[in-house]
C-alpha cells in the first residue's frame, strides 16, 4: 500500500528563505550543537572566550563550522545545519540579544530588523511558497 500524506515532504523546501530543521540537519550539526550546549556552563564560556580556537578544537565539528563560529557568521551556521535554539547560546555568551542574533541570519542590519519588528514584523505576503509565489 502506498502511504498517503497530506502533502509531499519536498514541500518543506518550498518555503522562501527557510531551512526546516530536520533529523538530517540535526545530525549534520550534532557536534556544532554539542559545542553550543557546552556554553550553558559559566566555566566553559570563560574557557571559550579565553581561546576560542583551542576550545572549538575540543569538538568534532567540521572546519567550516568552526570558522563560521569564529566569524560569528550566523547565516553560514544555519546553512551548515545549525538551529537557532542552539546558536543563540553563542550570542548569549557574547552578550548579544536574540533579536540581534536572529537579525544576523536575515541579511538585514540589526537596526533595520528591529525597526521592522516594531512596525509589525515581516508580512507573509509573497513568502509562503516559492512555487506559488504567494
Amino acid at each position: 500500500m502506498p502511504r498517503t500524506r497530506l502533502y509531499p515532504l519536498e514541500d518543506l523546501e518550498d518555503i522562501p528563505g527557510t531551512k526546516v530543521f530536520t533529523a538530517k540537519a540535526s545530525r549534520q550539526a550534532y557536534h556544532l550543537h554539542k559545542f553550543c550546549m557546552s556554553l550553558m556552563k559559566a566555566e566553559n564560556r570563560e574557557e571559550f572566550k579565553a581561546d576560542e580556537r583551542a576550545y572549538l578544537d575540543k569538538f568534532k565539528m567540521s572546519e567550516a563550522q568552526k570558522q563560521a563560529v569564529l566569524d560569528r557568521d550566523m547565516m553560514k551556521l544555519i546553512e551548515l545545519g545549525g538551529n537557532m535554539y542552539f546558536l543563540v547560546k553563542i550570542a548569549s555568551t557574547d552578550g548579544m540579544s536574540a533579536l540581534k542574533a536572529v537579525s544576523a541570519t536575515s541579511g538585514m542590519s540589526a537596526d533595520e530588523y528591529a525597526k521592522m519588528m516594531l512596525e509589525g514584523g515581516r508580512s507573509p505576503e509573497g513568502l509562503r511558497s516559492i512555487r506559488d509565489r504567494n
Partner: protein, 280 residues
C-alpha cells in the same frame, strides 16, 4: 477526584523573562506587553491551582541534542531554571507533583501515547517565563508544576491532531486521579514567528487572530491545520501553537473565555495570551 478547572495559553519569549528579571516592565517597549498580563495576575490570586500541567518546548537546554522525545514528562522532584548562556534566571525552583505525574504517564501509555519520562533536567524559559507572567516574582511558586515537553523544533513535529488527542488523554488521566486536586493546563509558545533566514521576523497577525478567535468555541477548525501550513503561515517557530491545542483539548467541550490579548512585537515574536475556565 482531580479536575481540570482552567487553561492558560501564552507565548514564552525569553526576552520577556529578561525584562522581568531586569525590572524593565515599565519601559515603553515592554509596558504594552505586560499590560496584557494584568488580568491574569489578578485572576490567578483567586484561581491558584494545586498543580499546573505546563506544556512547553525545551530550547536546546535539556533536550534536542542527544535525545529528541516527541512528548516527555518531567519526572524529577524538582527542576532548576536552566543556564541558557547568561546564568540561571533568578526564579524559584519548580516542584513537581510526582503522584499525579506518574498517574498521567501510566494513563497516557495505556491510551497509546508512548510518553518519555525525564528523571533529571533543568527547565528553560519555555517553562519559567509563563510562570513569571502569571504569578509574578514570588519567593516560591504557589503550586506544583508537571513539565510536559513537546518536540516542536526538529521535523517532523507531532501533528496538531495528535496534540489534540494528547490533550484529551490528559483530561481523561486527570479525571481518574483519586486525590482531590485543582489542576490547570497551560499551553505555551507562539504565536507567529520565525527565527532564521530571509523570512526571519515573520508575523502573521491575521492568521494569529483567527487562531485565537476559533480556539475557545470552534477549536475543531484548528485541529487539522497541517505542519506545512503552520510553517508557511506562522513561521518555523509559529508551529509552537500546536501546544495550545493540547491545553484546549484538555479542557473539554465548553469553556468560558475570561481574557484574550495579542501584541506585536516582543523581540522576534507575536505575543498571544488567553485565559479559559472550564464549564463542567
Amino acid at each position: 477526584m482531580a479536575r481540570i478547572t482552567a487553561g492558560i495559553a501564552t507565548s514564552h519569549v525569553p526576552a520577556i523573562g529578561a525584562a522581568i528579571d531586569l525590572g524593565k516592565q515599565e519601559d515603553p517597549y515592554w509596558k504594552p506587553v505586560f499590560e496584557g498580563y494584568e488580568f491574569v495576575k489578578e485572576w490567578a490570586k483567586d484561581h491558584t491551582p494545586d498543580v499546573v500541567i505546563l506544556v512547553y518546548n525545551d530550547h536546546a537546554s535539556a533536550l534536542m541534542l542527544d535525545i529528541v522525545p516527541t512528548f516527555a514528562i518531567g519526572f524529577d522532584d524538582q527542576f532548576l531554571p536552566a543556564d541558557e548562556g547568561w546564568g540561571r534566571r533568578p526564579v524559584p525552583t519548580v516542584y513537581n507533583h510526582i503522584d499525579l505525574a506518574a498517574h498521567i504517564a501510566e494513563q497516557l501509555v495505556i491510551d497509546e501515547f508512548d510518553i518519555t519520562l525525564i528523571n533529571e533536567m533543568d527547565v528553560d524559559h519555555g517553562l519559567t517565563v509563563p510562570l513569571s507572567l502569571v504569578f509574578g516574582q514570588p519567593e516560591e511558586w504557589p503550586c506544583k508544576v508537571i513539565p510536559l515537553a513537546v518536540n516542536v523544533s526538529q521535523f517532523p513535529t507531532p501533528s496538531g491532531e495528535r496534540c489534540w488527542k494528547l490533550g484529551e488523554a490528559i483530561r481523561n488521566a486527570v479525571k481518574t486521579f483519586p486525590e482531590d486536586l485543582d489542576v490547570q493546563v497551560w499551553g505555551t509558545g507562539g504565536m507567529s514567528h520565525q527565527l532564521h533566514g530571509s523570512r526571519a521576523g515573520l508575523i502573521n497577525e491575521k492568521w494569529d487572530k483567527r487562531f485565537i478567535d476559533l480556539l475557545a468555541h470552534e477549536p475543531e477548525e484548528l485541529k487539522y491545520i497541517t505542519r506545512l501550513e503552520y510553517l508557511r503561515e506562522a513561521g518555523t517557530e509559529g508551529i509552537e501553537l500546536i501546544m495550545w491545542l493540547i491545553m484546549r483539548a484538555a479542557l473539554g467541550y465548553g469553556v468560558e473565555e475570561k481574557h484574550r490579548f495579542y501584541r506585536v512585537p516582543a523581540s522576534n515574536t507575536a505575543v498571544g495570551h488567553v485565559v479559559y475556565e472550564t464549564k463542567s
